[in-house]
């Protein structure tokens, strides 16, 4: 029964998206608005069927209906409800279903929001999105069908991969990543629509802004939350290992970030048209590539991938997307011709161009390191992996240049800057940064790269703070406003810009956290008897007890450690090893005590069978929490920026709300001032 509803909804979504895509492109060709309207309704229908499909699957999971293949694969009666629901994305078929549902949701949302606007572009946008939908529903109807009936019906299942039910964060970062990943289909559809209609000027750029910001916010939050998850779960005290799965989420983020910046150049200077189209195509292709990489089994072996149909399907679709897109770019090459962008070296255009080159170089670096093992195995039959040194050696200089630019860029004016203006903006930040460098050196910072990073961070922070401070100062002088009122007016006058600067500040905070935690991390291992203590760095760690326990879905062995500094103990940390019924291997859960200055991170490595000793890995990780805080600042800044774009601003009058929160007295919005 459940399988039947699943089949009907998946098959229906496939047929409806195919029909809708055809109607939409007939509408583009004939200019018939009736066709566009039908295609729009088809989009809503696809979303309805997709929701039915995913609802059926969640129901099957919760009801432990093991006659459904996906439930038989990942379900188990002993798994707690929360992990049962989120096992929706713990394995291949379910995550493709999740992909399909989200892309249907995004499609319906964009078609609804723009139902009366961008009439020239929307039929082709609808058609492209429905074509993407059709691909995923085809996967779900055929090689990745999660609703295949199972006979005989098993009494119980194995439960999801133990690593994925070990921490509640698993309910958070995969959906965020998917919302980010899949959302990149929308800007891609706008890019294709611009090419198909030949309207490659400003309209599609204006229409696409918020539709690239929204998935960008999800992707950023998802990447940071994923790093946090691996820090809290994997037990090695790190958060980023340049693992192919991590790289897969990072690659489209890089190109999407480049795109967010380069569209500003096109808005302002009507240039970089081809470049923007190529970036948006690249972003979408990289999301497909990332899904392919993580879901086809190709990472384990080139040969594993050729056993299933998923891999060839994805490669075929990626090839199709690239061929069609590039053919359209060539076809529209006359319309895409732009004026050269540069008037002067010291201008914001230069900063944007360098930023884009760096992001593309970064993308290429990560792509090369991620692809190399696969290519080497396919071509030469050798199993090889690319070590973290390659990624670090390449990415550190690029990242440092980007931090330099994210401070300098906002301070540079469009077209060309006068020497007086540059002096006014750069003098103080440069002086403060140099002073900070000297002070840090005097305080004993001898790691040159870190010292340089921190100095750059101070410089960039100073420049960005100046972008807030200088107009605030001018307003206070000209209008006699208080500090809070002046700040609110300045910020609200251009939320997109100032939100962007807040994102830059968040990136700086993250960079400082990354630099300090990777340089000054200290680690040791100790085997302790109950009652015995070990001193490490400023801490004392004492083993109190070692015990086993039982939870519905797992057994665990846990060690309680009193931790403190000097002679006194200020808390207890309980790292543990979890034993899942269907896994030979215990899965550790580290215990972390987070403080602003540093984290104390304990992993239980081993214990003696009779409980006489426990071996603990102790890691002191400075400033790690600032990586998550910085990520939060980035998300907040981006939300603030997007609050001025369309929907939110129209519906909720975001401008007034924000003003009221920051200043008690009413401020007239939109008063002109110094900027």
């Amino acid at each position: 029964m459940t399988s039947t509803i699943g089949y009907i909804s998946v098959g229906g979504a496939l047929l409806l998206s195919l029909a809708g895509a055809t109607l939409a492109f007939v509408g583009v060709r004939t200019g018939n608005p009736g066709m566009a309207r039908l295609a729009r309704r088809a989009t809503y229908g696809v979303f309805g069927l997709a929701t039915l499909a995913i609802g059926t699957m969640v129901y099957a999971l919760v009801a432990h209906d093991f006659s459904v293949s996906y439930v038989a694969q990942v379900g188990s009666r002993s798994t707690p409800l929360f992990y049962t629901v989120i096992s929706l994305w713990s394995s291949l078929d379910g995550s493709i279903l999740f992909w399909g549902w989200i892309v249907a949701g995004y499609s319906a949302a964009v078609v609804y929001v723009y139902r009366n606007r961008h009439r020239g572009l929307m039929p082709a946008v609808t058609g492209t999105l429905l074509a993407v939908n059709a691909f995923f529903w085809l996967l779900l109807a055929w090689p990745a069908n999660p609703f295949t009936p199972v006979w005989p019906v098993p009494a119980d299942g194995p439960g999801p991969n133990p690593l994925l039910q070990n921490h509640p964060f698993m309910g958070l970062h995969p959906p965020l990543l998917y919302l980010g990943y899949v959302g990149m289909a929308v800007p891609f559809a706008f890019g294709i629509a611009a090419l198909v209609t030949g309207k490659v000027g400003g309209d599609w750029i204006r229409a696409v802004r918020r539709w690239v910001m929204a998935p960008w916010i999800f992707l950023t939050a998802g990447i940071v939350a994923g790093a946090w998850w691996s820090y809290e779960v994997l037990g090695w005290g790190g958060y980023w290992a340049w693992d192919p799965v991590e790289n897969a989420s990072f690659l489209p983020w890089l190109t999407a970030t480049a795109f967010l910046h380069s569209i500003m150049v096109q808005e302002r200077r009507q240039t970089l048209k081809t470049w923007n189209i190529l970036l948006v195509i690249a972003t979408f292709v990289l999301t497909l590539f990332g899904t392919f990489l993580t879901r086809s089994g190709i990472l384990e072996s080139v040969h594993a991938f050729s056993e299933g149909l998923i891999g060839p399907f994805f490669l075929g679709f990626i090839a199709l997307v690239m061929i069609v897109s590039l053919a359209l770019v060539v076809w529209r090459s006359d319309e895409l011709r732009s004026e050269p962008a540069l008037d002067s070296i010291a201008s914001r255009e230069t900063a944007f161009l360098l930023n884009n080159l760096l992001f593309v170089a970064f993308t290429f670096t990560v792509l090369l390191g991620t692809m190399y093992p696969i290519l080497a195995e396919a071509a030469r039959g050798v199993k090889v992996s690319v070590g973290a040194p390659y990624f670090n050696q390449m990415s550190v200089p690029i990242a440092l240049l980007l931090i330099f630019l994210l401070g300098v860029g906002p301070a540079l004016p469009w077209r060309r800057g006068s020497p007086e203006l540059l002096r006014k903006k750069f003098l103080w930040p440069t002086a403060v940064a140099l002073l900070a460098g000297v002070i840090l050196f005097a305080l004993g910072a001898r790691h040159l790269l870190t010292l340089f990073t921190l100095t750059l961070a101070v410089l960039a922070t100073g420049l960005i703070v100046g972008e807030f401070w200088l107009p605030v100062k001018a307003r206070r002088q000209n209008h006699g406003e208080g500090l809070g009122a002046a700040l609110a007016t300045v910020v609200n006058k251009n939320r997109r810009r100032h939100g962007g600067y807040v994102v830059h500040l968040g990136v700086i905070v993250m960079a400082v956290g990354i630099a300090l935690s990777s340089t000054y991390r200290a680690e040791t291992e100790a085997t302790l008897r109950p009652g015995q203590a070990v001193a490490f760095e400023d801490y004392t760690v004492r083993l109190d007890s070692l015990y086993a326990g039982r939870e519905p879905h797992r057994d665990f062995v846990e060690a309680a450690f009193s931790v403190g500094s000097g002679g006194s103990y200020s808390g207890v940390l309980r790292p543990r090893l979890n034993y899942y019924p269907m896994s030979t291997q215990p899965i550790g859960t580290p215990a972390v005590r987070t403080r602003p200055r540093e984290d104390l991170y304990l992993s239980l490595m081993a214990y003696a069978q009779n409980g006489s000793t426990a071996t603990v890995n102790i890691i002191v990780n400075p400033m790690v929490v600032w990586i998550w805080v910085g990520g939060g600042i980035c998300v907040f800044g981006a939300l603030f920026a997007i609050s001025s774009m369309g929907f939110v601003a129209e519906r909720f009058g975001g401008r007034k709300k924000k003003t009221a929160r920051e200043t008690p007295k009413p401020v007239e919005a939109g008063v002109g001032g110094a900027d």
Partner: protein
């Protein structure tokens, strides 16, 4: 025209320098994934190369000195045996399996020294993302059964 030429040369230089560092860095950071027999077949070229060596732990070969944290064992496959030495406490699962002489795979990271000993900086018990049902699932809690006696503390997780 001259301006364009300068720009083109500039871009070319940047690309070449970037490519040099990228591919050079890549070459130095490669870690080969070999089995014991593949490692031995490399001959002299194997010395000092960064390798992830994967094989089965030879039953009974494990020598673990808890005082010095010195761990020695042999990794084997069909065609070769490699002596491995590492420092640090091995993962719980490694200890459990080797204590019961159960077959277990391991992957070690490091390189082969001239003395013919593989010096490992990292030891991982072999597993894949698609995990398999264990052969010894029923016996597993044998290992930590004694620790259950302290149930009172066990509830406070």
């Amino acid at each position: 025209m001259n301006k364009k030429l300068t720009l083109a040369i500039g871009v070319l230089v940047v690309v070449v320098v970037f490519g040099y560092f990228a591919f050079g860095g890549l070459g130095r950071s490669l870690v080969y994934f070999w089995t014991p027999s593949e490692l031995l077949a490399e001959g002299d070229a194997a010395y000092g190369t960064s390798v992830r060596l994967g094989g089965m732990v030879e039953p009974g070969s494990v020598r673990w000195d808890a005082e010095t944290q010195d761990l020695r064992f042999r990794l084997v496959d069909e065609g070769g045996i490699v002596e491995v030495q590492s420092v640090g406490v091995p993962p719980q699962m490694f200890l459990e399996a080797t204590e019961h002489n159960q077959p277990i795979g391991a992957v070690v990271e490091g390189s082969l020294t001239r003395e013919g000993v593989f010096r490992a900086t990292n030891l991982m018990v072999k597993h894949s993302e698609e995990y398999r049902a264990p052969q010894h699932a029923g016996e597993k809690d044998e290992y930590y059964r004694e620790l259950f006696e302290d149930q009172g503390a066990g509830d406070g997780s």
